[in-house]
Amino acid sequence: MVIPSLLGLPADSNEKQPNLFAYVSLKDTRETVSKKHKSKSEIPNGQICKCNLTESRLVGGVTLAETKLPEPITISSSGKYFGITKHQRLSIWKVPDTETERVVFRKITLRHTKRMTVLAFHPIQRIVAAGDSTGRILIWRGFGDKTFASGEGLVSGKIMLNDEEKPGVRDNDDAGSCTTWHWHSSEVNVLFFSSDGAYLYSGGKEGVLVVWQLDTGKKKFLPRIGSPLLYYTVSPDPSLSSISCADNQIHLLKMPSLEILKSISGIKFSCSLPEGYEGFGSGVAFDHSSALVALRTDNYCVQFYSLFDDRGISEVQVCERNHQPGDDVTVVVTVVALSQDGSMMSTVEVKLAEEGIGGLVCLKFWASESQNKKFTLSTIIYEPHRDACISAVAFHPTRRVAVSSSYGGDFKVWVCNDELEQKDVMLQSSGWTCHVVGSYKKKAITAAAFSADGSILAIAAETVITLWDPDKNVLLAVIGETLTPIVMLSFVGKSEYLVAASWGSKPQLSVWTMSKLSVSWSYMLHVEAVACAADLSSFAALALLPESSKCQESIGTTFQGRDGVILLFNPTDPVPVATWSARKAKGGALSFLQVSRSSVEENISGWKPPQTLLAYMNSDHEYVLFDPNGEEIHELNVIPRKDLVDPEERRQFGYASIYGELPEFELKRDQMSWVPSVPSEKPWETIFSGSSHNLPPLTKLCSAFLESLLEKRTAVVE
């Protein structure tokens, strides 16, 4: 929807308010439903209509255009023109000078041979730029000279121009000239003129922001953004602008230098995996105590995302490579594991071989100094299990010990040298070294888990569960077999139960008791994730609904679109305590989170927060937190806390803790000044900053400058 009159000069308030008109792009649902049975695909689905906002109704009978799909309308910053891309054409309308319901629209069409994707109007001159699906940028200068000019009362000789004098313009279209720039290799998504019209910004799937000098066509780049660009916006402050990316991130740019000032990131989407690597789990690890989730992302990072605050905390570059959106994935982060206290992380990355050459498995251990989740690389282990892939990495609950298991048939217990240091003071460098290697009948080790006190290591050798002493590397016991290879093992809290999940043709969720070393009960369920809380005697499992039941249920429409259930079990009892249904459960993850009082304070008045919450994250990285023990499903909408503070201010609390509370008003002012778009207290200092070619014309600046001075004066008087 665009409202041209808002962009124009504001009318005097004394006059009678004219009707406010908007142009809306509609998806004509009514029509499609009625004509659905004819199944004619070419029937136009989108419409451009005019809408009287004052009386809040559509202006009857005015349909400017019909398109197959509803197209976004682009309007020029002066509010004089608006237009849409319509397959291989651009349609541009001129907004009538006096808006009434019945007015004749002037429209021109500019043609091209490729599908157009985006268009942009020049803020001052009559120039329109459009991007197409092959990455070309077309710039028409002087569009509508014939059609629109007469309306402006300009009678000039330009109308009489011959075709030869209109280079690049097709089919006698109404434009002065058309130039084509081609740099992008795939479709252009972002096209925008700078506020003074000297530059054109373009971006696309490559994740490179290109700045074109409009007069010369010279380019400048902001490369390696890492994901396709979606939108670009300039702020009123000419030195700031922002781009949004397909990976749920917004970057604030400092304009003349194209420097990224700040990135605001949402939860990253699940990354695409090459064939044969889908089965490697979801690549999601939860930090129970601080309610963080570690996700692998497309650009070889692990993102730490706070579930309570709903914001990204930090990102760790696991593999020092630049991600090129659109390239096939050749390096995969297969496993992400966090220690119980969240201070250590382990990642496994696999470099895929090119025709059998150069494959590499790499195990990395990371350590964070404090609770700020800034992980630094501690140890790299190349090919930890020869060339076999690692199936799981598990951390010891209390000590700096980890176990990695591989499909190559062995598992290794790794010990951080800090532990050894007590014995030998001479060892200065801290790092992880292999402590013991174990294997069971040369079978592929598919899962590993430490018990709650760390005294027992459970190792799944394909279908057999074996119990080991992690220190002495002694096989303690072998307990029964499942039908298909086990993919997950987990001890249920401090209890004597062990949960195993196996996939394959005969999937199984089985609960084993350690006291009898036998199976306690089991279900024939394909379990996608298992979560156990350390201090709880129950566990939760995310099960995919079997195909057969899905068919039956779909008739009853109980599970509309839902393919999974979350089951809460008490290990002593095979009957689930509670069940919830879930969407997109394949590739989902599940975890219990410990709730500290402070983190959910006063979220919901009159409702006491539970001790533990269950977090469910589906394959699209949408998550929900809920209380597993509540009677009704109390979906906890965790609102970002009001006292959510930026790290900058958090430091002030440290200051305050030393020197006592600062006066209240000072804090507030800091908060204000932190918002980047708010101009600083001395606007006259910033008005002329930036390179001269980027500044608005001096005539504009001068008035702003004087205005700022005047404002300042009044502020002082107050």
Binding site: P223, L261, S263, Q317, T330, E355, G356, I357, G358
Partner: protein, 532 residues
């Protein structure tokens, strides 16, 4: 703000290609101490006749040292290791020599039983002390005593001489076998020890009337050398394969026995580590040499051998200069293995500046005028003060040529440029990066003959190295498959292939022999493991 910058720093950043990390050694390759000991620049003084029986440094600069070999005593400069002078007035093999504490006199003993005292400058024998009936094995000036001399010999008698009168003051009896060595206490002019082939070390005090030993310790082996440690309370003895440290004040108790040598330890001396006036305090070490050709540095504070050095001959004697700049080791075949530390250049000028400080600098410093060129450069090389806030320039990522080319997606050029370079690690790292981009095989197929030759040369050199063989062997097969035609048509490439084949065959032979060895060893290990 800095935190935020860090947070998003990976956006827009380019990563240079890094080779795989090498495993770090758990222990440092070179401890600071072994670095110190190996910092002595080696120098050989060859062509001396027969074995070097004894080495002794003059206590005052320039620290000449005397080497006793055959029937002569040679003085060397400790700076240049050139021969300073030779004393030849011996009838028989010289066994031992000792400088007086002021460095102007030198006493030397020989097998004929004669002890002579020479003037170091004129080389004339000033005194001849004749009393020993058998070869004299050791002679020594007492600590800060210019008038007396100690000597001991194969007759088992230790004599205390009045040098000026050429007379024996006292005959100290008690050793039942040849007296081979001895040392004077560094804190007392009257106390000294002697070691003998009867396994004992006796502590003498010439003030004691009845000329009996004050204390006696038993080493358990014929004693080759004995020495007071600088504190004067500890004693080190060398005999058999061991060096033992004794506590004299504690009543002759053994403190430690160092048994790191494989053959008889022939000589010991004290050495010092650490800089004079440096942060670390000077620490004393025992240097021991043995017939096995090793010189070991023993830290008797930590009771640990801190450095070990091998020489290609059985070693007979060792000495360390008092200024810590030179150490010399004498071997049995007439070679002196000397070593000298490099002098720090800044030492001397600093001293000189002290004399001429102030006045000179004042009038040297010219006032800068705008007509000088330097006027416009003033202050540019100013170092930041301690309290200055330094605005650091963002660190530039150093990109190699191949990195720049890879950034521009010019894969083949990058590949060729890194092959032209010297570093095999970088070549392999670029190969791995190309694998990640799925471009390696395309690059290989695009190489022209000359570049292919380069690649094959690299392969021949490194494909058998265990670090790279995993990647390179696979790549080599592919190269041979895809470029067979080109290789057949070019003689140069054929030559490369021949070399390659040879190196692979060599590697296979090595592997086979290693496997044989493993086959021999593994049952032994199995048995050994069972025994435990």
């Amino acid at each position: 703000m800095a935190e935020d910058l860090q947070l998003q720093s990976h956006v827009g950043k380019s990563f240079p290609i890094k080779p795989k990390l090498k495993p770090k050694a758990r222990t440092l390759l070179q401890t600071p101490e072994s670095k110190y000991w190996s910092s002595f620049k080696p120098h050989q003084i060859p062509n001396l006749v027969s074995s070097i029986q004894s080495l002794d440094f003059s206590p005052n600069p320039p620290h000449l040292f005397a080497a006793a070999h055959s029937a002569s005593l040679t003085l060397f400069s400790s700076k240049t290791f050139t021969q300073h002078s030779v004393i030849n007035s011996f009838k028989d093999v010289v066994t031992c020599s000792s400088f007086r504490s002021d460095g102007s006199l030198l006493a030397a003993s020989d097998v004929s039983g004669l002890v002579q005292v020479f003037d170091v400058k004129t080389r004339t024998p000033l005194r001849r002390l004749r009393s020993h009936a058998r070869p004299v094995r050791f002679v020594k000036y007492p600590f800060l005593d210019k008038l007396h001399l100690m000597s001991g010999g194969d007759d088992g008698v230790v004599k205390y001489w009045d040098v000026a009168g050429e007379s024996v003051l006292s005959n100290l009896l008690g050793h039942k076998d040849y007296v081979r060595c001895g040392d004077c206490s560094p804190v007392n002019a009257e106390m000294f020890v002697t070691g003998s082939y009867d396994h004992t070390v006796k502590l003498w005090d010439v003030r004691v009337e009845n000329s009996r030993s004050v204390m006696e310790v038993n080493h358990g082996k014929p004693i080759e050398d004995v020495m007071f440690l600088p504190s004067g309370g500890l004693l080190a003895t060398a005999g058999g394969n061991s060096v033992k440290i004794w506590d004299l004040i504690g009543g002759g108790k053994m403190v430690y026995s160092m048994e790191n040598h494989n053959k008889t330890v022939t000589s010991i001396c004290t050495g010092r580590v650490g800089k004079e006036g440096g942060d670390e305090a000077m620490q004393y070490r025992i240097l021991s040499v043995a017939l096995d050709g090793y010189m070991k540095v023993f830290d008797y504070g930590k009771m640990k051998v801190t450095h070990s050095m091998r020489f290609p001959a059985p070693l007979m004697s060792v000495a360390f200069s008092p200024d810590c700049m030179t150490r010399v080791v004498g071997s049995s075949n007439g070679i002196i293995f000397a070593g000298r530390k490099k002098k720090k250049e800044n030492d001397e000028p600093v001293v000189r500046n002290f004399w001429s400080l102030g006045r000179v600098e004042e009038h040297r410093k010219p006032t800068l005028r705008p007509s000088y060129y330097r006027y416009f450069q003033r202050g540019q090389s100013e170092k930041p003060k301690e309290w200055d806030y330094v605005v650091a320039r963002p660190k530039k990522v150093k990109l190699g040529e191949h990195d720049k080319l890879l950034k521009k997606f010019r894969h083949k050029e990058a590949f060729v440029s890194v092959l032209n370079g010297k570093n095999p690690e970088n070549v392999v790292a670029v190969m791995e990066e190309l694998v990640c981009r799925r471009k390696l095989l395309k690059c290989v197929s695009n190489l022209d003959n000359e570049e292919l030759g380069l690649l094959l040369g690299f392969m021949q050199k490194y494909s058998t190295a265990p670090r790279y063989s995993g990647l390179l062997m696979g790549l080599m097969k592919k190269v041979l498959e895809t470029r067979a035609e080109d290789i057949k048509s070019s003689d140069a490439l054929k030559g490369h292939i021949r070399n390659l084949k040879r190196s692979v065959e060599e590697e296979i032979r090595i592997q086979q022999s290693l496997q044989e060895i493993q086959g021999i060893i593994s049952p032994l290990l199995r048995i050994a493991g069972r025994g435990i």
